[in-house]
């Protein structure tokens, strides 16, 4: 048994050594994750623990004591984190081995990994294609076998979209199931930590470990994974009409239609309307940018983050943030500050919150009628580097994943075949809040169908 674990670890370690210089999935490993320490870690860890020997990659916006917490940003590249996030405490007590910190779009803002200050991670299926984002490094690390599993964070699709682009499983849990304590805040009311893994069972195994109540996160629910309800009587799948009608790449459309057809043999497929769908993307960006503008204000060069020295506070602040933050991050901070400003901007924020409320209510009604909702994870497969220069085109990449984010619902991306160019496709199932256990069963079903 020990031999198997050691060999499996060695495979990951070899893969990382060979591939990381090309794929750029891991951006930091410290003396704490040195492979020479692995045997002593094994000998001092209880072998009956659920993640004994399992190597886990951690997105670089999650606090791990003794590791950098760069958030993919230049401004935080020298910051070494003095504490563990709740999920890391959970991983440690489950016996896991932390492999290192993975690449990401700066402060989790992006859908291609091109906005990382450390250079982008590369899609292991084709070197000219993006891995997706923002948890691109975690998806690449898992897809290329550099670790068994990884943690990512999902605000509008940042786990599911790269999982889909790289051909791995990615779960966005229900809002409140996994504590955010130790996750650098981007949009606090939407951020969630979730797992990425090669297969559905592994992903849910990791989820079952990191889930659970944490008194330090006020939005954390009083619920442990074991206590989640299970619905054994799933009969209907919902198709959201507005989502069904968006333009999709042919290969995505074909795979999606094929899956619908397969599922219709066993389940009733019901078409439903989400009339506020068209507001989802703009509302999401207004809420995110507004919250981000306050969450990222702390990186000011005083006690957090690097600085450009100057004789006056205001010019130090201005120069540090201008120089050390990336273009996309600055774009969103400026927009967010405008959305909250008293000069007319505030209307945007209130309208966006209102739209979110409507979407949430409508989604709840949908789940009174169907057990799950099916859609592709993205309307497109991975695109080429530099392929989406227009920010709005990039934002559109999250069109399928944003509705469940806004409604706080669990959703999963499952690999489902490949495109003609050999790029992975992903299908998404959205469930009612805290339906993860049932979601697991259905995701398995889709995983099996994908192998047909």
């Amino acid at each position: 048994m020990l031999q198997v674990i050691l060999e499996s670890y060695q495979t990951h370690e070899d893969q990382l050594h060979r591939q990381n210089c090309k794929l750029n999935a891991f951006i930091s490993r410290t003396s704490l994750s040195e492979s020479s320490l692995y045997p002593s870690y094994l000998s001092t860890t209880n072998p009956s623990l659920p993640l004994y020997g399992i190597s886990v990659g951690v997105k670089d916006n999650i606090a791990v004591k003794g590791f950098p917490l760069s958030n993919g940003s230049r401004i935080m590249k020298d910051f070494v984190c003095p504490y563990d996030a709740f999920v890391i405490q959970k991983l440690r007590s489950a016996g896991a081995w932390i492999m290192g910190k993975t690449n990401m779009d700066e402060f989790a803002m992006g859908s291609s990994n091109e906005f990382s200050a450390f250079g982008p991670a590369i899609n292991p299926h084709h070197p000219s294609y993006v891995p997706g984002g923002s948890s691109g490094g975690s998806a690449v690390a898992v897809a290329s076998g550099m670790c068994s599993m990884a943690l990512g964070s999902d605000t509008g699709g940042s786990i599911r979209q790269p999982a889909s682009f790289c051909g791995v499983v990615g779960i966005r849990p229900s809002y409140g199931l996994v504590s955010r304590y130790g996750l650098s805040a981007f949009c606090s009311s939407l951020d969630q930590i979730g797992p990425l893994a090669k297969d559905v069972d592994s992903a849910f195994k990791l989820l079952s470990i990191i889930a659970g109540h944490d008194p330090r996160d006020n939005s954390s629910f009083h619920l442990e994974y074991e206590q989640l309800p299970e619905n054994s009587n799933v009969t209907t799948f919902g198709i959201i009409k507005e989502l069904d009608q968006i333009p999709m790449k042919d290969d995505v459309r074909n795979a999606y239609e094929f899956l619908k057809q397969q599922l219709s043999k066993e389940f009733q497929l019901k078409e439903l309307s989400l009339s506020h769908f068209k507001y989802a993307l703009p509302a999401y960006h207004v809420i995110c940018d507004a919250e981000a503008s306050s969450n990222l204000a702390r990186y000011a060069g005083t006690h957090l983050g690097d600085r450009v020295n100057s004789t006056h506070y205001q010019s130090m602040l201005k120069q540090s943030r201008s120089l050390l933050l990336g273009t996309e991050v600055k774009r969103r901070i400026i927009l967010g500050a405008y959305f909250l400003s008293s000069q007319g901007g505030q209307d945007f924020y209130h309208h966006a919150i209102n739209a979110q409320k409507h979407i949430r209510i409508e989604m709840e009604r949908i789940f009174e009628k169907v057990s799950f909702v099916l859609s592709p994870t993205t309307p497109d497969t991975a695109f080429r580097f530099g392929g989406k220069k227009d920010p709005v085109a990039m934002y559109y990449s999250d069109i399928c994943t944003i509705p469940s984010s806004l409604a706080g619902l669990p959703s999963i991306s499952i690999p489902f075949g490949k495109s003609r160019e050999g790029l992975p496709l992903g299908m998404q199932i959205i469930g009612a809040r805290f339906s993860e256990k049932t979601l697991h069963r259905l995701a398995k079903k889709i995983e099996e169908l994908s192998l047909v």
Binding site: I62, Y83, A185, P215, S219, E291, S294, R298, L340
Partner: protein
Amino acid sequence: MFKLCVGLEIHMQLLCQSKLFCSCSASFSSAPNRHICPICLAYPGAMPSLNHQAVVLAVRMGSALRAQICNTSAFDRKCYFYPDMPKAYQITQYRHPLIQGGYLDLDHTRIRIREAHLEEDSARTIHYPDKGEIGLDFNRAGLALLEIVTEADFCDASQASDFLKKLHRMAIDLGVSKGKMEEGSFRFDVNISIIPLTGKTQGRVEIKNLNSFRLLEKAINYEKIRQMELIENGGMVASETRSFDASLGITVPLRKKDSINDYRFLPEPDLGTLHISNDEIEAYSRNEALKDSCLEQSSNII
């Protein structure tokens, strides 16, 4: 003919064992940066948890002021850049304060309270002019403050000072605040304006961070004369923030109000609504000892 209008904003540090949103000690330490943690340093990922003891003390003070204690209140982010604000926003209660209304009677006048709310204190800045540097002491960052805002009901300096003395005494007697002005645990801002009985409405001047009753009286009296002379000479009083220079006995401008800070308030997503039942309000007001077990934070999750 003129009428002097004075209002006060009082910041009192609440007598809690720990800070408002973390478990760091709230005791005074002259050595800098002894009581700090990832939460009060605003390290990425650290999240606030409300210290319920602060709520108890605020309710006790509010009840003593005959105010309405709101069953639901909420927190907001007040965003601005300043080196003493580690998150670059202050968590305060802007839209839904915990305490509304109330009053305190002086000998011949009733001073109305507009509202009072919980908020966190900022870090202390230490100036090193010879080195051209500023040091930051985060011991104070995140301490629980109760800000009490009065209506502009004072018509002279001695009234304002009498009110403060009485409030200060109450806060100490109720065990709500240490009230140590030399440590900054009881400090106040004053708003002063002159209403001419005829003629144009004048601007309002705010004097920040006073920490003695004597200075308060001096500052008000100085401002009253300065503003009256301005108006009598045909000038206008500008709305601005000024500071009182105790050594010269004068007020000097800090910043103009027309470049008013836009604080870009945002509902705090990391803290739920604060719910307090009538039973809790009654218990806290009766000056009951804190029962640890029943002081779990009660907050809803949307």
